[in-house]
């Protein structure tokens, strides 16, 4: 029920935007989020964008996980 999927905004039209979900395009309502601009990623629940995805934070998470893989020791304090 609380499932929400990420998509990229292709076009903004007032309270609606056309969003690309990995190739499938749909109109979603963007009235619940601030700064929904073309090129940004949004998280969409039941046809409404509920939050923007912070790309810097997404990269940070991936970087953290990459470090975990590359780190040979298992000192967990390194990672948190």
């Amino acid at each position: 029920m609380c499932l929400a999927i990420p998509g990229k905004i292709l076009e903004v039209n007032g309270d609606k935007a056309n969003v690309d979900f990995n190739g499938v395009k749909r109109d979603v309502i963007i009235a619940l989020v601030k700064d929904a601009k073309v090129g940004k990623y949004v998280l969409v629940h039941a046809g409404y964008a509920i939050e923007l995805i912070n790309e810097e934070e997404a990269q940070e998470t991936l970087k953290l996980w990459k470090n975990i893989v590359e780190e040979e020791g298992l000192d967990e304090s390194l990672f948190f």
Partner: protein, 362 residues
Amino acid sequence: MQILGTKQLRDRKVSEKIVRIIIKLLSDINRKIKIMHVCGTHEHTISKYGIRSILPKELEIISGPGCPVCVCPAADIDKAIEIGKRENTIITTFGDMLRVPATNLSLAELRAQGADVRIVYGPNDAVKIAKENPDKEVIFFAIGFETTVPLIGYEIKINPPLNFSVICAHKLIPAALELLIGIDQLNIDGFISPGHVASIIGTTPFQLFSDAYHVPNVVAGFEPNDVLMALAMLLKQIKNKEHKTENEYTRVVKSEGNKIAQKIIADVFDSVSSPWRGIGRILDGGLAIKDSYSKYDADKKFDIKIEKSIDIQPGCSCHLVMTGKIYPYECKLFKKICTPVNPVGPCMVSAEGTCAIYYKYG
């Protein structure tokens, strides 16, 4: 989608490393640990990717009441059914709700009897149906947690036609956590909290909860490595005897949440004491439409009283499954009498019901 790195988010090499960290933390802690999540989407990730099978058995992950369809009282469905039996009504709702058994019927059975019951993707579709059918009453049966509430609030605020109304069966997560932590013998060592609920309400309500009850809590995303990471973060807190709320899902969740959505919720709804199917009444566990929007409140419009309803059918153990007291396979009807085709309880219907997930992946 490359920038979001969906592939990396599921990278097995990362999973394996996090599992090794989890094993190490567990051996430092040196006792059994029980973690509860309260979200059907988390259970889906855990079951689909076989996360329990790659974790040491000292770490138990139990599933809480994280399925809005499952916790919706039979009386609310009965109410929708009574309204749907009337002439010139159209009942609209999310697909998962249709086959949930209520006291006598489900909405799907009502539809089979000739009533106009329609599945919609979102509340805007229900409003559209109301505009297209001005001579009919169109009722949206609204279920869902904080993630879903602002969608309905938004539609109510933008002046839908007066033949549109809402049965408000929304539930709130933080109040349920308080109830769960109080259940005897459950002994939960930490919570994984639902990232999409937190995207709306922020991490502060969870922080207040972990402060008040001294229980570790991590708000998590829904990829397998998000869940594993959340487990490692919880174990680290347990090892260090900490009890705070941490945010694993920083790419989406802000500590203050989504202010626009919060304002819509506050404008349209009041929090109320609310019954959860199989669990009981929870103080501030649900929402009601404010008086200022009562023209859209189906409760006020149709004045239907359900005298007697049955939440748990004989033999069904949904109430125990939803509070993490038993696993679905411990219910004697599981897979034998109760199946997704012939569900006895709500947990077997929704794609996010714990019994349905165990049926599919177990």
